[in-house]
């Protein structure tokens, strides 16, 4: 049996023009016909024909970028607003955790607000009385329940809102990004409550950016992108596809930013020669005498294709196109990688490594090949340089190139040594079965 059936649902919002933020009755009458004025002049399709089913008793996750229509979808399922076209059926009592404590009145005690909130969600006064103690205990607000809500901290407020909504005991629970409402302990309690609802065969529809939560809790996932269903099915498969797509988009964004930076750089090539490089300041820039010039820098993946986003452990090459104005024998090439905090994760040059390099006049290429980029997830900036052994730069590119490392493993730090876990005796360490 399906708890939720969504068939070709479209939702069109009216977009306000700059000219007319709010219609006024006067303008409507003056321009002739109030009805015509009610018709939207500019529209925006938040959902463009979305169809899916949620089987009763399943936990269903909706993921997608900001503005992909996730929250619109959830609101339609909740019954707040109706689809512009298409049909939508929901079986049983729905409770929506969209905004916690919406409708709390600040001047009134927590006790009264709990009752009113519960009744807004469709319970009778008697049902609320029966659940009241449970709700207060869940929210951990026994000592404050008779104080006006305006005196509550935002955490207390959210907890109370969450407690009421979850104790409505819905057949279908809709959750929109609300798990970040309390401390660690409360979050665990919320997750336990979800698990309990699941055990009792309730349907949960979860809209979240926390992919981790989707993998852990959901039986099925749906990926919405710009109002259409991109993919539906096993959470891990959907999330992997989603991550890949996000990585691609990030890569394009980084490349665009780099192109822009390069354009600015070339536009102002009149950088003073021999400008004293202040290495203590990690500011982006480019300086040097340009006797040897690094004309372009590319980051390449293992297929030698330009890329900006890499999996941790991937092969990465930094390719430098070099042009020397005249033959140079005092020449060092260097590369540095910095993380977002400006910490140098790795830096080396040909001189440190005991190599001597030289250039004849003309063009050439230098490739710095890293067989494995064992960095943890994050955004990194790359320095490249050609300089004399004394350090005097020919061409120094400071933090000019950005690369992003992604990883399915959320380990921390900077460097991920290739590793494995080994156990013996009574201790076993094995991969978790995929739930």
């Amino acid at each position: 049996m399906n708890a939720i059936e969504v068939r070709d649902v479209r939702k069109t919002y009216r977009r306000y023009g700059r000219r007319r933020q709010f219609a006024t009755l006067k303008s409507a009458l003056l321009s002739g016909g109030a009805l015509r004025d009610l018709r939207p002049d500019e529209t925006f399709d938040a959902l463009k024909g979305v169809s899916f089913d949620v089987t009763a008793g399943k936990t269903f996750g909706i993921i997608g970028r900001n503005g992909s229509g996730k929250s619109s979808m959830l609101k339609l399922v909740a019954g707040i607003g109706r689809p512009t076209s298409g049909s939508l059926k929901v079986q049983g009592r729905v409770s929506a955790l969209i905004e916690l404590g919406a409708g709390f009145h600040p001047e009134i005690s927590g006790r009264d607000n709990v009752f009113i909130n519960g009744m807004m969600l469709g319970l009778t006064r008697r049902e609320m009385s029966a659940r009241f103690d449970q709700i207060v205990a869940f929210a951990e607000l026994e000592d404050f329940i008779d104080a006006p809500v305006k005196t509550y901290s935002s955490g207390m407020y959210m907890r109370l809102g969450f407690a009421v909504a979850i104790h409505v005991d819905p057949d279908v629970l809709l959750v929109d990004e609300v798990l970040a409402v309390g401390d660690e302990a409360f979050t665990h309690k919320c997750l336990d409550k979800f698990a309990e609802l699941r055990r009792r065969g309730r349907t949960v529809l979860l809209v979240t950016h926390s992919l981790d939560l989707v993998t852990r809790f959901c039986d099925e996932a749906l990926w919405l992108d710009a109002g259409i269903v991109r993919m539906q099915g096993d959470p891990r498969r959907v999330i992997d596809a989603y991550l890949l797509d996000v990585a691609g988009a990030e890569g394009r964004a980084l490349a665009a930013a780099a192109a822009k930076a390069n354009a600015i750089q070339t536009a102002s090539t009149a950088t003073p020669v021999n400008e004293p490089p202040d290495m203590s300041k990690a500011v982006e820039g480019r300086w040097g005498s340009r006797e040897v010039e690094i004309t372009s820098v590319e980051l390449l993946d293992r297929n030698r294709e330009p890329a900006r986003v890499f999996q941790s452990g991937d092969q990465v090459e930094v390719r430098l196109s070099v042009r020397a104005r005249h033959p140079v024998s005092d020449l060092v090439f260097g590369v540095g990688i910095f993380n977002a905090d400006g910490v140098c994760c790795y830096g080396t040059n040909t001189d440190i490594e005991g190599a001597a390099s030289a250039a004849t006049a003309g063009d050439g290429e230098v490739v710095f090949v890293m067989d494995r980029l064992d960095l943890v997830e994050g955004t990194y900036k790359v320095d490249v340089a050609a300089h004399r052994r004394s350090g005097a730069p020919y061409d120094y590119h400071r933090l000019q190139y950005t690369l992003r490392v992604t990883s399915s493993c959320k380990d921390t730090g900077i460097f991920r040594p290739p590793h494995r876990w080994v156990s013996s005796g009574g201790i076993t360490i094995a991969p978790r079965p995929r739930s």
């Binding site: 219609a23 109706r82 929506a96």
Partner: protein
């Protein structure tokens, strides 16, 4: 629409709680608390008494005495009517959060506004009663039986208008400004600070088109003017009209309901 009407009935518990909350919240933190509901009309009555006995003793027909009490019979229901309508224009916008984020029958909000006004109206009644007794105004007991019906008709009429105005204000934000001006005109177009009998016949014809005229005059007849209540045919006609207004108001609200969450 019938389904939506049934919804409202299903949510009556919520309506009751919200009215209670409205009243509690209004006086929270004030020293006199609920007492304000008595003090406000009392002060108003005292001011009018002062004006019509000391400042302008000859400005009203001598047959109507005490004139302040006569006015009070009209002002009390008028205050309920006008403040309810004015508040209902903003009630959906100030509770926008609720409408946008919670599945919630929005018509509850204007209804609560009107009912909270009704409670204030009722709290003013003891003051009115006390002064009626004090001035030995002869009240016919059988006339008083009409009183609840007048209140009910006013309630239905006000709720109908409140629903209409609240939904329209979401789309047209200047409804409130139009309304506040209109209400001033309407106040003077209703025989509250004058008696309907004082008005020249031709103007009286126009005034009888105003439903509030009949309601206010009914209050005055039942509570103040001696003699049996003879206006009941007009009152019942207004009652039928009020039901019509309610249905139209609810219908339009129901039609605009889906747009509320987006526009509010």
């Amino acid at each position: 629409m019938l389904l939506s009407l049934r919804h409202v009935i299903r949510y009556r518990g919520l309506v009751a709680s919200l009215v209670a909350r409205e009243l509690k919240a209004r006086y929270r933190g004030s020293v006199l608390g609920f007492f304000w509901s008595f003090v406000n009309p009392l002060l108003l009555l005292l001011v009018y008494t002062f004006v019509f006995t000391v400042v302008l003793p000859g400005a009203h027909p001598t047959a109507i005495e005490p004139f302040a009490l006569f006015m009070f019979c009209g002002i009390l229901p008028w205050t309920w009517f006008s403040s309810s309508l004015l508040e209902s224009t903003t009630v959906l916008i100030t509770s926008g959060n609720l409408i946008r984020k919670v599945l919630f029958p929005a018509e509850v909000l204007p209804i609560v506004t009107v009912l909270a006004g009704a409670v204030h109206f009722c709290l003013g009644l003891p003051i009115l009663a006390a002064f009626l007794v004090y001035y030995h105004v002869p009240v016919t007991f059988t006339d008083l039986l009409w009183f609840p019906l007048i209140v009910l008709i006013q309630l239905v009429l006000t709720v109908g208008l409140a629903l209409l105005l609240s939904a329209l204000t979401v789309h047209f934000r200047d409804v409130r400004d139009l309304l506040s001006n209109l209400l001033t005109l309407w106040f003077f177009g209703t025989p509250i600070i004058y008696a309907l009998d004082q008005v020249p016949p031709r103007v009286r014809q126009i005034l009888t088109l105003n439903p509030m005229t009949h309601l206010v005059v009914s209050y005055q007849d039942v509570l103040f003017t001696p003699g049996p209540f003879a206006r009941w045919p007009a009152l019942l006609a207004v009652g039928a009209g009020a039901i019509g207004v309610f249905l139209v108001g609810f219908f339009i609200f129901d039609r605009l309901r889906d747009t509320l969450a987006e526009e509010v």
